[in-house]
């Protein structure tokens, strides 16, 4: 509205129109996602088809608003080359406001179109396992686990280690943690896969660069309703089982192992001194494993064509390479490289940048699926 008024005022006094400048790129939004919103692109066509459809009166309304704002933005942009400095300044302010509104509207459209997964709001279990490369792989696994622990702190998520299986020299064979907080699963779900490191290992005497791998698995934590387990299907093993138990015996071994009899899935925990707590943590891991098996059946069909996989399908994909000699980390799914590996491994803004890019690309793929004409 204000734009129109401004334009109207300008028209009265300055009949000559300045040529429109090229559009300034949005500070947010990845390129593929932006391109989807291009005029006459498939998304636009799709949105136009939504007009009057029962599927989304809300969607149609937002789409219409978007077109309006974009039109207003284009009209205001032509004022950027006006002779009058005040007009130019006003135009700049207007444009910033429009761009903000447009970005919000686009996000809304994405939000309305991209189906949210049953699991997006859930907490998760993060598991790391050393792969190929012996001691070096295990050292790298410990560093990656530490990175995610820092990342959780950076995002103010709750991070609770469930299991550590260490190596002899300070590395990790395997570890898992329970992570919870706003948006945790949604962001971390794309971290699942094989991570590869290229560097001179600590144990290497001749200075040669080695390649080692480790695997990250991200399992959504089911809510009570998502997954119901019959207590009769569980066998709980503890050290107290042999003997009389009770006052008769004083033991300190509070390790717990739970076996889900129908599937043979096992979950163990000895993180805590309280046996009850170990049982609770072991149950959490078991539930996540069972839920993940259940979800895999559902998602495998949907995700077949995508670059960014989740669940067990994605677990064997080589998703990222950490090249220390070149001080560079590359995610192969979106072909994005970041420099300053030390900073990346601190699990703060640099990791966050990559994680956000992945999320945007995943949204893009989901959006493409929604709007593509069904064959």
């Amino acid at each position: 509205m204000r734009g129109r008024l401004l334009w109207g005022a300008v028209r009265c006094f300055w009949p000559r129109r300045a040529p429109g400048p090229t559009r300034r790129p949005l500070s947010c939004g990845s390129r593929p996602l932006e391109q989807l919103f291009a005029r006459d692109g498939p998304l636009r066509t799709f949105l136009e088809r939504q007009e009057g459809s029962a599927a989304g009166p809300k969607l149609a309304e937002v789409a219409r608003l978007l077109s309006e704002k974009e039109q207003e933005l284009r009209e205001t942009e032509s004022l950027l080359h006006d002779e009058n400095e005040d007009i130019r300044k006003l135009a700049e302010n207007e444009i910033t406001l429009y761009q903000k509104e447009i970005a919000q509207l686009k996000h809304q459209i994405i939000f309305l179109l991209v189906p949210s997964e049953e699991t997006d709001e859930n907490d998760l279990i993060l598991e790391v396992t050393a792969g190929v490369g012996g001691q070096e792989a295990m050292l790298f696994t410990a560093e990656i686990f530490e990175m995610y622990q820092q990342y959780a702190a950076f995002k103010r998520w709750h991070f609770e280690p469930l299991e550590y299986v260490p190596s002899e020299i300070g590395g990790l064979r395997h570890a898992s943690a329970s992570i919870g907080g706003a948006g945790a699963y949604e962001l971390l779900k794309h971290e699942g896969g094989v991570h590869r490191v290229q560097r001179v290992p600590e144990t290497e005497r001749q200075g040669r660069v080695h390649t080692s791998t480790m695997t990250v698995a991200v399992l959504p934590q089911p809510t009570e309703i998502n997954l119901v387990i019959n207590p009769k299907d569980l066998r709980i093993d503890t050290k107290r089982a042999s003997g009389a138990g009770g006052q008769h015996v004083n033991t300190t071994d509070s390790a717990v192992r739970i076996v889900h009899l129908p599937t043979g899935t096992i979950s163990e925990c000895q993180q805590e001194r309280s046996q009850l707590k170990n049982r609770e943590l072991a149950m959490r891991r078991l539930r996540a494993k069972l839920y993940s098996m259940h979800l895999d059946e559902e998602t495998s069909k949907r995700y077949q064509a995508r670059k960014i996989q989740v669940g067990t399908k994605g677990r064997s994909e080589k998703i990222r390479t950490y090249n220390f000699p070149q001080n560079r980390v590359t995610d192969h799914r979106i072909s994005k490289s970041l420099h300053d590996l030390d900073r990346f491994m601190r699990g703060e803004d640099l990791l966050d940048e990559l994680v956000q890019s992945l999320k945007e690309y995943a949204d893009y793929e989901a959006l493409v699926e929604v709007i593509s004409p069904k064959v």
Partner: protein, 352 residues
Amino acid sequence: MKLGVLLCGLGRAGATRAFSSWPPHSPLTGLVSASELVGHWTAVFEERGIPEARQSSEYIVAHVLGAKTFQSLRPALRSQPLSPRQLGRIQELSSQRLQRMPVQYILREWDFRGLTLKMAPPVFIPRPETEELVTWVLEEEARRPHAGGVEGSPLILEVGCGSGAIALSLLSQLPQSRAVAVDKGEAAICLAQENAQRLQVHRRIQITPVDVTLERNWAPLLPWGPVDLLVSNPPYLSHQDMGQLAPEICSYEDLAALDGGKEGMDVIVHILALAPLLLKDSGSLFLEVDPKHPGLVGSWLQSRPGLGLRLVAVRRDFCGRPRFLHIRRSGPQRGGGTVDTSSRLQPAPVPD
């Protein structure tokens, strides 16, 4: 090398000190990591026949490094060398373990349902089964219609509180509740009070020395009632059980906290007799007992219908043994009068 000197030196000097019983193991040389130390002490304990050799050394080393369990120690800390002070401390604690002291007394603390409680000999060390007793009480409480609304409710009385594990767990999970905890032992009273203070619930609990096996002691208890919940893990070992206890228990724990008389029923029966005097109508008594007892308790109650107590449910522990009893009281508040506390299974009528 420094460590080697440390260990050897102590060994040689140790004629009168506990370290003189140092086993003839090759001393560790060079810088030692936590993992290596655990390996070392595990071997030492195993050689001396100390039960739970690996767990004991893991807990001791972890404790000195500031962690609760060895598994929760960050991997990096496990391979770093330890300081001489840390090594010395671990040795001190390990030599106590060589004397069969329970790990909980060595560390002077232990966890119960997520609470860390101070432990001190000879006060009874909470067993894992009892964590489930508390779970059951909480489940039943959640079922009741009022559910957490009224201040001071539920009012809980614990008999034989020991370190305070049961009462303090309940207080921390039921924010409106209040508790009275009694125990025969002075040491238990002191420890429970200290734990209540540490957990910041001391204003909601009254801890008093009382021996419930003496009826003349009951009168001062009565004004605390009537209570909603009576809960106890009373001494329930039989004489036969008492004869088979491990040195950890015999030499360090208060045997009065374990001894339940010939059949292990003596203290249980006193609590059952006390219950009608202290419980509200529809109030509940939750007991942990020996797996041999549920049937005996059922019979005992059935033969004394005047008490107004009914065995409502028996619950198994996580190993499938019937260990927990839920007894409910029904009927108007009773006054004084004597109660037959004989634990013999005779249908003795209760005088009104």
